[in-house]
């Protein structure tokens, strides 16, 4: 038995027999658990499943063991993913701690900062929010104005952040604050961590055109952070912030890319919808124009999934990520918008319901999903900013 085979066998023993026996079952694959001080439980066993996996470092499989990770190599991490998928299990823990601030601390944090924060992430004890955008700093992120002023070993924070995803559910925030208002705007930015459970921090949810949202506004009135929670030094925040954006874009690309893969496996849902709403004539979707749009989108989604695969295959073969990876954020989000718009077109007037009688549940959800999708090309870096990045860094066009 090779090491990989032994690892897989032990994992199967854990996931298929030991854990279900000990906990009396396991959560379904859709039950995303975000952890935190007052965690929401998408399934009664979510928390215990997370804690049991965290004991073995399996919530953050590739992080070093001294910070609560699994210390696994790429191949073992892949085996873990494969087994979770095969057994129809959710990842034990999700969230911005694992996907964004964790990797950033591994890259930029001091030993003390890693030991302080990473284990709490891996155990699902602290849920994190991102404090980046402000009302006057969206695409032009370096224009942040929320300020941090030193007062002994503390920093005093004032100002406002916006688009804080799940800010109302988070325990700690990582964010960028202005410590120096003179000089170039990229300088004078400091990346720091703060506890959100304090009187000077107020969080208000934002209602979107889709009727609800995960986003919040966060207000700081003489809130406090500790100097020991400044990452990479005062005034060095822009470098850290940009590196973290890279982690975020990978996450968004993966999200939509994974969606494309699942859709492929599940057959063509759009064609099903078209048949149901438009009828079938001679074995074809009855409306030839919409049939063409269904085909076009299906082909474009397939092509996008193939490009994600090409990028992954190239990395697996030992090459650096190619320039194709720069198109994933913009490509994936635009495809999702087109999919939502086409679904509205296929359902016709039945896609217009907001609530109440005359529309079924999926039709009502469709309306909201379509509206929500308009944000996809704005959040996480607008498409226009993505195009600027491609033009500058891939094509070498001048400023």
């Amino acid at each position: 038995m090779t090491d990989a085979e032994r690892f897989r066998a032990d994992l199967v023993e854990l996931l298929e027999r030991e854990l279900p026996a000990r906990l009396g079952g396991l959560p379904p694959p859709t039950a995303d658990y975000w952890g935190g001080r007052n965690p929401e439980l998408p399934h009664p066993l979510s928390r215990r499943y997370c804690e049991a996996m965290a004991e073995r470092g399996l919530t953050a499989p590739t992080w070093p063991t001294e910070y609560g990770g699994g210390g696994l190599g790429k191949q073992e991490a892949k085996i873990l993913l494969e087994e979770l998928r095969r057994l129809q299990l959710p990842p034990p823990l999700v969230g911005f701690g694992l996907s964004m601030i964790g990797p950033t601390l591994l890259q930029f944090g001091t030993e003390a900062q890693r030991r302080e924060h990473l284990p709490k992430i891996t155990r699902g004890e602290i849920r994190w929010a991102q404090g980046y955008s402000e009302p006057n700093a969206g695409s032009d992120l370096a224009s942040v104005q929320a300020s941090a002023r030193f007062a002994g070993d503390d920093l005093i924070l004032n100002g406002q952040k916006v688009w804080t995803s799940y800010g109302d559910k988070a325990d700690w925030m990582f964010g960028i604050f202005r410590t120096d208002a003179g000089g170039k705007k990229q300088e004078g930015i400091t990346f720091l961590l703060l506890d959100m459970a304090q009187p000077g921090v107020e969080v208000r949810p934002i209602k979107l055109i889709s009727g609800a949202s995960p986003f919040c506004e966060t207000f700081f009135s003489d809130a406090r952070a500790h100097a020991k929670d400044v990452i990479a030094g005062v005034g060095q925040g822009w470098t850290v912030a940009k590196a973290l954006l890279g982690h975020e874009r990978n996450m968004i690309g993966d999200l939509f890319g994974a969606g494309a893969r699942t859709r492929r496996a599940g057959g063509n849902a759009l064609a099903e919808l078209a048949r149901a709403y438009l009828g079938v004539k001679d074995g074809r979707i009855a409306d030839p124009v919409l049939r063409d749009r269904v085909a076009q989108l299906a082909m474009d989604e397939r092509c996008f999934a193939l490009t994600m695969q090409r990028s992954a295959d190239s990395v697996k073969a030992g090459h650096k990520p190619g320039p194709e990876s720069s198109i994933f954020k913009i490509g994936g989000t635009e495809l999702n918008q087109r999919r939502q718009e086409l679904m509205v077109a296929l359902r016709g007037p039945q896609a217009l319901g907001w609530e109440g009688e005359g529309f079924d549940e999926r039709e009502l959800a469709q309306t909201r999903d379509w509206l929500r999708s308009r944000g996809n090309t704005i959040e996480g870096g607008t498409s226009e900013v993505q195009l600027n990045i491609i033009a500058k860094h891939v094509l070498g066009l001048p400023d």
Binding site: V294, C303, E384, A391, V394, D399
Partner: protein
């Protein structure tokens, strides 16, 4: 399916690119055009391609080939597309050559396939007439029984590589009518057959294409490729294979047109700055880059789907036809878009015949309208997917 080049493939890609870009490629095509060259390509260049082994790529070792596949062939056609090389690799090797390899007798292979692989003879496929559009059941020629012979009558148009070719594979209607898959028969017709005449046609992209006229040309049973009345499947198969080879060429063409355009954006100055610093133009260039990357994935996937398992070129994967349509639709839309934008971004100079960029626009359009345009392939994709 692995969408990454092996070391051997990367080496082939470099060799092919060096060969094509080693000469001023577009200037060569321009000269052939301006001299109204009868052949429209260079026999000695074609002989070199054969020497490099390119003409042997998609054939089994038993047939005298290299036993490689379309994953390799598209790297060669991509390089050819970079330089708009007019040599008839796709018509002679993929369309006619593969038809003979898949359906031909030992005698057919000895007479035509072996010399085609050696680069000594050039073959072509006559499968369309003026009103065929993309319908392969609309055979250009009728073949009537005459004792133990067939008499071929009709006219085939835009036969790629057809002028001065040595032999043709001809799609002829032996039974039924347009729209019927049954009743199409493929014949191997030596160019010297009495009753067969070829006329060079002049097309917008300056490629060698011919109008072939068949006036009661007599062919025997031994000249039939495969079975009488059952040639459609073989015809459709080689057209799919040639489609993928063509998408490789299209990828090379769009890449070249794109890179020339980006270089122009960097160097051309207006209002005291490089025009590539204008955001309106940057965004358009970035969009074209996205199209290019997506097209490359589709071409690689389609080629590998035709190859099926490594080395087993007759065992294509089950959804290969969908991927062929995906690649051709993508490549058609992307190449035309990139070529149109290339002209626009070059401004006035891009409209002149003196500048090379216009050659890519012409080739883009011709490629788009060969083997089915994007709309045709979306329809085919939908039908294959059952909707």
């Amino acid at each position: 399916m692995q969408l990454v080049l092996t070391e051997d493939q990367a080496l082939l890609q470099r060799t092919a690119l060096d060969f094509v870009t080693g000469t001023p490629a577009i200037a060569r095509l321009r000269k052939l055009r301006d001299h109204r060259d009868e052949r429209g390509y260079a026999l000695d260049r074609y002989a070199k391609m054969a020497e490099l082994g390119w003409t042997a790529i998609p054939f089994s070792e038993a047939d005298g080939g290299l036993g490689a596949g379309f994953a390799e062939l598209v790297l060669v056609t991509e390089a050819m597309g970079r330089g708009l090389a007019p040599e008839p690799l796709i018509p002679s090797i993929v369309l006619a050559g593969r038809a003979i390899a898949l359906g031909g007798s030992a005698a057919h292979k000895a007479s035509w396939l072996a010399p085609a692989i050696a680069g000594d003879k050039v073959l072509a496929l006559a499968y369309a007439r003026r009103d065929s559009r993309f319908d392969l059941t609309r055979a250009p020629v009728r073949a009537a029984r005459d004792g133990d012979r067939f008499r071929l009558t009709g006219q085939a148009t835009q036969v790629w590589g057809g002028h001065l070719a040595d032999a043709y594979v001809v799609a002829a209607r032996t039974a039924g009518d347009d729209g019927d898959r049954d009743g199409v028969t493929l014949f191997v017709v030596p160019a010297a057959t009495p009753g067969v005449t070829s006329q060079r046609q002049h097309r917008v992209d300056s490629l060698n294409v011919a109008q072939l006229t068949f006036d009661s040309a007599a062919l025997g049973e031994a000249d039939v490729l495969g079975d009488v009345d059952h040639g459609h499947a073989l015809l459709a198969r080689v057209v799919d294979e040639a489609t993928v080879a063509l998408t490789g060429e299209m990828l090379g063409g769009m890449l070249e047109a794109f890179e020339r355009t980006v270089a122009y954006l960097r160097e051309r100055r207006q209002f005291g700055v490089p025009i590539g610093s204008f955001q309106a133009l940057k965004h358009r260039a970035a969009r074209l880059f996205m199209e290019l990357e997506l097209a490359r994935s589709a071409v690689m996937a389609a080629a590998r789907a035709l190859d099926g398992g490594r080395g087993a070129i007759d065992g294509a994967q089950p959804d290969a036809a969908q991927l062929v349509s995906l690649a051709k639709a993508r490549a058609s839309d992307a190449y035309v878009l990139i070529a149109n934008e290339a002209i626009q971004l070059h401004g006035g100079i891009g409209m002149t015949d003196e500048h090379d960029i216009g050659f890519f626009l012409k080739r883009a359009r011709a490629s788009e309208l060969t083997f089915g345009d994007a709309a045709y392939h979306r329809d085919r994709f939908a039908a294959l997917e059952g909707y």
